[in-house]
């Protein structure tokens, strides 16, 4: 009984440390957001989110002391999402510029598809600024 209560009292400071680091990372997210660092800010904010998620999983969900079967179950979800993301990216990121999202080949001239369904051609911004909601 004694060793159990000793283990529990040592958990309270760690809980505070975990909470503190989570709030520090939230502060960092806000700073990165307000600074607006452009292209790297998406990567940075996702990296911070992943760090927060890892802390929650390891310390709050106790994954660092879980059985192997539990760790496998936790990894399986992430693995399948990673496969889905990679195969999806392998498709869309390798299509020729100017391709409709619904078709694997570039469309001829102006299409009747809504402009947001296009991958932008290499020499043109995503959407011509005059686009409207007609049709």
């Amino acid at each position: 009984m004694n060793d159990v209560s000793a283990g529990e009292t040592s958990r309270t400071p760690r809980l505070f440390a975990t909470a503190l680091s989570l709030y520090a990372l939230l502060g960092l997210s806000v700073v990165a957001w307000r600074l607006d660092l452009g292209l790297i800010s998406t990567a940075l904010s996702l990296l911070i989110a992943a760090a927060k998620a890892l802390i929650v999983a390891l310390f709050f969900m106790d994954l660092r002391r879980s059985a192997v079967s539990v760790r496998l179950a936790a990894a399986a979800g992430l693995l399948w999402v990673a496969i889905m993301l990679m195969l999806t990216a392998a498709d869309y990121e390798t299509r020729p510029p100017g391709t409709r999202l619904g078709s694997p080949t570039p469309s001829e001239g102006e299409s009747s598809q809504p402009p947001w369904l296009y991958l932008p051609p290499a020499d043109r911004p995503a959407i011509s600024s005059g686009s409207t909601r007609t049709n």
Partner: protein, 210 residues
């Protein structure tokens, strides 16, 4: 500890089986949100400027406040699960705090939704295209916003109901330790809901103007 079901030799195995079950359920939840976020990524890649423009119309500071509330709720849950099990009353207090913070999250989200509606940001017939340079893509972004945050809010509401029910049972139970596995499983679910929000925050509210 939880009463031993007949198919288990000892409580440790019963607990491990219960936690594995919760984790497998959470893996299917990862796939649900993962598929939605993959679709979101494809459309955002196709039109980053319009997504950034539409995202800038959302109330980012309310979302930051809500993140702080949800993190506090997760901390309270962790304290309830990992704290001294012998003191059931402490656990009841912490679980009540967890549920109250979860309910606060929903309340704040409801206020945010009301503000969004006032600005006609809901896709559909009432949508106001005027403030957007790319209204179609903006509507698509807002569809993702409403669907993802709505689905998450449903998960939070389910969690609040689950934790409230557990707290009531703990208060009235003569053997509160018999609910240990249930409390721990509910804790895993609650932390997972927190993690989903941690990713929704940068993806929906913090879209950079590329």
């Amino acid at each position: 500890m939880t009463p031993l079901a007949q198919q288990f030799d000892e409580p440790g195995r019963q607990r491990r089986a219960a936690m594995l079950g919760v984790w497998v359920f959470l893996a299917t939840e990862v796939l649900l949100f993962g598929a939605l976020l993959t679709a979101y990524t494809v459309y955002r890649r196709a039109d980053p400027h319009a997504f950034a423009e539409a995202s800038s119309k959302l109330y980012g500071w309310i979302a930051v406040l809500n993140t702080a509330v949800l993190l506090a709720s997760s901390c309270a849950m962790a304290a309830a699960v990992h704290g001294p099990h012998a003191r059931a009353r402490r656990r009841v207090r912490l679980l009540t705090l967890t549920a109250a913070l979860g309910a606060s999250f929903l309340l704040i989200k409801a206020v945010e939704y009301a503000l969004d509606l006032r600005e006609h940001l809901l896709p559909g017939p009432g949508f106001d295209a005027a403030p957007f340079r790319h209204p179609q893509a903006a509507e698509l972004f807002l569809f993702f916003y409403w669907f993802l945050t709505g689905l998450h809010a449903l998960h939070v509401a389910g969690g609040v109901a689950l934790i409230t029910g557990l707290t009531l049972r703990l208060r009235t139970s003569h053997r509160p330790e018999s609910l240990d596995n249930l409390v721990e499983g509910a804790g895993l679910y609650w932390h997972f809901v927190d993690i989903v929000w941690l990713f929704l925050l940068p993806l929906l509210y913090m879209v950079p103007r590329a």
